[in-house]
Point group: D2
Chain length 348, copies 4
């Protein structure tokens, strides 16, 4: 870390800054310029020390050189993390496909969609039992029952399942029924939820907050990793910009950037990332071309009648199938291959 002071800072203040640093057992390298004095710190800087220095009198700027997250960083863990869930591998050169409806609506609906996801070559069934909705009068999901409906559909068709958990209280029951727990964009900095997920015993897909920086996303992942759970996937799902034609702006640069900064798998969500069905196919292909480790895509057998209104961004089954066929050709050109299927899909 570097602390910059102005040339108008009196010497006693500079000395005070230095004293604070040395009290923590760190070394100081001083560099005097024409207008500024630069104080370099050598050794491990605690967040508290950094905060203290930033607000001391005479300090103009504090420049972090090292990152604030550690377990999520590629410096700390140079190899790609590959998560293995009963034989389905996520990360590295594997391309995982998660598909399904926005919300679980009925046993028949989720079963039929699971059948189609499996038939097209997907590995994971997505579906929400608890739905975060902007207003209190919108459909809020079918609740706990939805978890069992989805678990059964997954089992029957040999698919892993992923579902969103919105509050610490429901982590245990979701972990009981689903293979992967998802943190939604509005909860990326719900720190109590993240802490609870650190000990939930299930892999977590962490969606980027719709206005979160890469650094904030990796710090949120650090909360889960620091709790002991090393199976975290990062998910780019679109950011909020001034453009209103699309629901969000899918930031595909996030894929190579996060893969450079971190070892964790990066999944792309072109459905929420665009909010428009006709854009899902091109943006899914672009995601894979940019190096994504997987896709999470909304598909519905009757999107015009979906209960959440997200049908406008859901693919029809035949579009989903066609997309996966195209991706099988595209993936090898960028060093990806479809993840293998669930081991020993149990008969029912």
């Amino acid at each position: 870390m570097i602390v910059i002071t102005s040339n108008q800072t009196p010497q006693e203040q500079v000395n005070e800054i230095i004293a604070v640093i040395e009290k923590e057992g760190l070394q100081v390298h001083l560099s005097r310029g024409a207008d500024h004095t630069v104080i370099g710190l050598v050794g491990g800087v605690t967040p508290k020390l950094a905060e203290h220095l930033r607000q001391m009198k005479g300090v103009e700027n504090v420049v972090k050189i090292s990152k604030s997250y550690k377990l999520a960083s590629r410096d700390f863990h140079p190899e790609d993390t590959v998560i293995d869930i009963r034989g389905v591998k996520i990360g590295g050169e594997n391309l995982v496909i998660m598909g399904g409806p926005c919300a679980v609506e009925s046993p028949e609906q989720i079963d039929e969609i699971a059948r189609l996801v499996k038939a097209s070559g997907g590995q994971v069934l997505r579906g929400g039992a608890f739905k975060p909705r902007t207003g209190p009068y919108s459909f809020q999901g079918v609740g706990v029952e939805g978890l069992t409906m989805m678990a059964e559909a997954g089992k029957r068709h040999g698919l892993l399942t992923i579902t969103e958990v919105m509050t610490p209280e429901y982590v245990d029951i979701c972990a009981e029924h689903a293979d992967i727990l998802q943190v939604g964009t509005r909860n990326m900095q719900n720190f109590d939820l993240l802490r609870k997920l650190g000990t939930c015993g299930r892999p977590v897909l962490l969606k980027r907050g719709f206005s979160a920086t890469y650094d904030e996303l990796l710090n949120a992942a650090e909360y889960i990793l620091a709790g002991g759970n090393r199976d975290v996937m990062l998910c780019e799902r679109g950011i909020r910009t001034f453009e209103t034609y699309t629901r969000n702006t899918l930031d595909l640069s996030a894929i190579p950037v996060l893969q450079n900064l971190s070892h964790l798998p990066v999944i792309s969500d072109p459905s929420h990332g665009t909010g428009r069905r006709e854009l899902v196919e091109p943006m899914a292909k672009a995601s894979v071309a940019a190096g994504a480790n997987g896709l999470i895509i909304e598909m519905h057998t009757d999107p015009d009648n979906s209960m959440t209104g997200d049908g406008v961004q859901s693919l029809f089954p035949e579009q989903f199938d066609k997309l996966l066929r195209d991706l099988e050709k595209l993936a090898p050109l960028v060093g990806r291959r479809f993840s293998n299927s669930l081991e020993a899909a149990p008969a029912l």
Copy 2:
């Protein structure tokens, strides 16, 4: 609500749309243009119907005319809401001043700051016991003990208290110790938390998400109101933009806009809204000039050594005092007067 279909939509699809509307008992007004047909709906449109229509084939656009929130709307409740907490009035022509440190650090710290807030004419003591922090290795607050430290300081000096609650599990204990519960910017759409606050029995200050629209903020308030709690204050605390010189961009237009759309009091937070001490004074004055019903301001007796690093945006006590003196003169020019003090401040 208005549904717009293209001129290329076949008649049977238009009929299907009309059938869906009429099935819900609503009337239809049809208006055919050169390129589009416009279908007007008369009667109460449920969110589910709106969602269904948006995703039907042939529908180009659905334009909401009425608002999605109701209890928060000024149409529903034309008079200003004035919240009365033991004689301290918030809303209407009253200007409430909330002051205190970012975090409660010790009984001595919070007691001394409470004394100063009271002496300068503030009515509410702010202070965090639980702190939301970007990374897991930063200071997370002193926890439950902080609640009692702050409650005692408030009692001793005749101040109301406000503190942030981050998760549903802690609502009850916070409500036991604090007069007002605060929802932070990262939790504005933590819907389980909002629902719990709807029945907590305490007034709530709801901070705008740092990338939330006015509409989303009012819908979040609607969650709390719909639970039965009518004592909600809205708080503008800065939004995230491309500018990095300030920590956030304080959006003062939010004040008159929210007051037009809603009857709820609007509080401004120039401390988080700018992140820089030297900007707090001008932006506090600007907030009042724009019509704010109150201010929440960070003040610290030793900001250089604050535990959260937010000292850089905390006023020194003498600055806080000077600001309040200036505001006493400014307030009457825009139809505001300082809120009265706590009734019968109990002796200790």
Copy 3:
């Protein structure tokens, strides 16, 4: 167009609005709801009428149904525009590659880079003679001389050339020396420049303003088209967001969206769109996978010593070559093939 009035608008005001519409020879369709009256306009609405209506008393909202641009719209021109410049086709299924340095620096520099662009299979040489720079003390380009240096390099190696023009005064001289004129992101709404380009006799590549909506970009293109110049390419080059790790956020959704709304070719600029060399390759591939009609990429033989400081986003020649090899394989999977070369590249 639709005009919405509140239920509190007196009848005489509604009548006045209707009178204004009918005076323009348009028909009115009236639709009365519980809370609002909706006035539909049938016929061609002039911008002036729209503006007038928007500000009349009693008008709550005016909803445009038709687009404000016409010549740029796919409704008006359903087939893809394919621009043919001496045999090099841009648009439709052709993928055009434009490569070269940020700035022309010397005859030797631009000649050597032209040779490499050609050898790798590019069709267009890019290079700036006039450089838009944030501050007045930065290198501003070599000026007019650069135009002739680039023209000669293009001729010698059988490449088309593209260069940026910043002000109406220089359009003629740029058009004399370059095959394609480029409008930079800061000039997308330099309307005098756009008007001048409408009659310049050269194809124009119009870069999206870094905070411009799709609608504004298409309206800017409309200025050029309306002047009589139908050879316009749209260019996505990154938008400004809150993220600071990348220089801009490349919005790849722009590619399919603009291709849906318009018939004009869409070119992607992953160099400025990311500002980091290591992101150019993945984002170039993602651009093609999303359906781009071409790429404009910075390449430099000695990026560490480039005069503009944009070397950090320039590919080395071997990276550029490798990328084009990869794109040759990727393009056919998304219905694209490399544009053919310049006809009869003249010997010097």
Copy 4:
């Protein structure tokens, strides 16, 4: 300036970096940390050297400590710039009021509005002869004739005049007729225009680009100042954010920030900054409370029939008058007083 290299940078690369710095006659201060080596530069760093260093191999980051603009900086010119135009003072403790229509429409219109601006206590008449419009089919202003209409109205009523100039070609004729030339938000980085204004002999009001940083605005001002024109005013007129309820988000923090960084007067435009008439009054007051040196406000005698459609943000004359009465009371509380009137307003 500081150059940061990683601990994995080989020594010969570090030496190369140092050699480059020393070749320019600057001294180097080296500071070795655990993970990074920090190279401090002592002396005047040219932009070209900075750019060169940024892109050298082994360089991780370059941190500017000094600002890139100089003439615009308060470090360079500690006292407030006060521009004196025939006795009307702009800057310092003076509060200047500029009012008038969006566009000049006719001699009668501009004359009547000038009369009202003067009667209410304004000093400057605003009005556009050339209008920047998103699409080519919208009203583009009455052109050169508008300049003489406005000049005459200003003369008759003893007001200075301000008008927008959009392209270098028109600077001379605008300078002939108007007292102040305005650069619009879309032209803030029209560098040829800025350069021309550097020698135009008239004070310039430079509007902030709707997505420009403070630093970019000050660098744009530097272009004009560097040309020899020291009479530059900065204008905050709203930035583009995700919020669509207001036309722009007026960033009032810009006022104290720009006044801290620079000595130039800062004017606020609450009309374009909000785009809604009902927000102009509160945001005008907030601007003054935040310390603005002046306001530029749209006022129209018949806003419902204004030719540009900007009538929705224009005050009625009685609102304008009432606002100025209120501001006369507010200004002294924040150290401002109304600018004096034009000296010796000539009779006609």
